[in-house]
């Protein structure tokens, strides 16, 4: 029971911010996972294009992560006041 009372000390707003951050990370995980999977599939089909595919994969991953970090920034602002 003491563990539960500790959870209430945090405050509902900040707890929800943590939840929001988790949701943003789910989006990032799904997005980057799809990028990686399609890149690997393409590399398996055409191994000589590997280096081209690798650089484009990394660029696309950076752009998708940027969107996820939007959500993280909002949650951080909520959690810190």
């Amino acid at each position: 029971m003491e563990l539960l009372s500790i959870l209430f000390e945090i405050g509902i707003g900040q707890g929800l911010a943590g939840l929001g951050a988790g949701a943003a990370v789910i989006g990032a995980g799904i997005g980057v996972g799809r990028i990686g999977s399609s890149a690997l599939e393409a590399m398996a089909r055409q191994p000589e294009a590997t280096s081209d595919l690798r650089s484009n994969m990394i660029v696309a991953a950076a752009l998708v992560e940027g969107v996820a970090l939007f959500g993280i920034i909002i949650c951080l602002l909520v959690a810190l006041g």
Binding site: V59, A62, F70
Partner: protein, 411 residues
């Protein structure tokens, strides 16, 4: 990649890029300074507007409660509060905190409205631990360096790290032009860049058509990479016009990111502060729209080949996009770099949280092994992110410039 130096005509253009970098760098420095000033200036303006939003008072209360809680602890031993430790290392500060009580003081430059300019070193502030620090100068102005979000005696809210000034009981308007930790980091990087590029450019001017020596061997592949992989494919024929800016922005972001990763020098977070990235994004915004040709603006407001009802939806989105694209550039860079620093600091904090201030040495040490290994892995990832974020910023800037100056072959 063709051997650069064998092509004489290219050599002359290269030295022109590199020497004009110096001028563009000065603009970036001035802009960054203004950006940082605006960050603090905003909080002072809020204090003066006298608007008391309920949210602000609530936040001020919550944070001053937190500050009281911490002051109570500093009297016994310093209890480790992970959130405060992380924020202290991410945020800007008026001195460089190396370890323990060792600080490198930095100049504080204030403009006090009617009172004029004030200059002193941040070591003049007295006060220890985590509380507010005070200083009174010879003209009777009392300065306070606020350690946490709170409220002034007259009720105006004030943010952490802001300097306020009181003279004869009345609050003065403070414009903070100090050389803070981020500005100092930026100055170091700018000096390094100016020295590096001017000396490399001189070498190309003195020995035209010969293989590069020394530092030029490292600079040349990066410059060629930006010209051949980023600028020429995205902008096409007019790439040379934008090369100085793209080179400056790439190296500035790359080196500032790397500076933030060096440990033990006080924890710089130059590109992780919104004040600096917003200036970079504004420069991209200005360059894109000032160089926009007829086709760019025409396609924005009247996209061809689109049915009329869809035009009504598309045009507001495109107009909104003019502002959103630089804003996204800003947030992407700030968030990636700050998040990287926060993760590394969080792994470090884990050791102290599990060690419970020396009470649970076994747990602390065990976590220490795991934490250190994970931190090394995160550092490797952050090195990749340092280069990648500079590359992505430059690439997107080049794409926006290309969109703005693109001449269609036919209509």
């Amino acid at each position: 990649m063709t051997t650069f130096a064998t092509n004489c005509a290219d050599t002359k253009i290269m030295s022109r890029y590199l020497t004009s970098l110096g001028i563009v760098l000065m603009l970036a420095f001035a802009g960054g300074n203004v950006g940082l000033w605006a960050q603090d200036h905003d909080s002072v303006h809020e204090a003066h507007a006298g608007e008391h939003h309920d949210g602000h008072d609530h936040a001020a209360h919550a944070h001053s409660d937190g500050a009281d809680h911490e002051d109570a602890h500093t009297h016994h031993e310093e209890e480790f509060v992970a959130g405060e430790y992380i924020i202290h290392h991410i945020a800007d500060a008026h001195d460089i905190h190396l370890f323990g009580d060792v600080h490198i003081p930095l100049p504080v430059l204030l403009y006090l409205g009617d009172e004029g300019f004030r200059f002193f070193m941040s070591s003049s502030f007295e006060g220890h631990g985590h509380g507010d620090k005070n200083f009174e100068d010879a003209q009777g102005v009392a300065y306070t360096l606020h350690a946490a979000d709170g409220a002034l005696p007259n009720g105006q809210p004030v943010n952490a790290g802001v300097i306020t000034a009181v003279k004869s009981g009345s609050q003065l308007e403070v414009f903070d032009f100090s050389i803070t930790k981020s500005v100092f980091g930026m100055l170091v990087i700018l000096t390094l860049m100016v020295w590096m590029f001017i000396s490399v450019a001189k070498q190309y001017q003195k020995n035209p058509g010969q293989a590069p020596k020394g530092m030029a061997n490292a600079v040349e592949p990066l410059v060629l990479f930006i010209r051949d992989e980023i600028a020429k494919p995205s902008i096409g024929a007019k790439a040379d016009r934008f090369m100085p800016f793209l080179l400056t922005v790439f190296f500035f972001i790359f080196f500032c990111n790397l500076l933030g990763l060096v440990p033990f020098i006080g924890g710089f977070n130059v590109t992780g502060t919104m004040g600096i990235t917003i200036v970079l994004a504004t420069l991209v915004f200005l360059l894109t729209n000032l160089n926009g040709n007829k086709h760019y603006w025409g396609h924005l407001f009247w996209p061809p080949g689109v049915p009329l009802p869809v035009k009504f939806i598309l045009v507001p989105i495109e107009v909104f996009g003019i502002l959103m694209k630089p804003a996204v550039l800003m947030i992407r860079l700030t968030a990636n770099i700050s998040a990287g620093h926060i993760i590394i600091l969080a792994f470090t904090s884990l050791i102290f949280i599990f060690g419970e201030g020396g009470d649970a040495l076994a747990a602390g040490s065990g976590i220490g092994v795991f934490s250190t290994l994970f931190m090394i892995f995160m550092y490797g990832l952050e090195l990749l992110v340092a280069f990648l974020q500079a590359f992505v910023f430059t690439l997107l800037a080049a794409i926006y410039f290309g969109d703005a100056t693109h001449e269609p072959a036919h209509h």
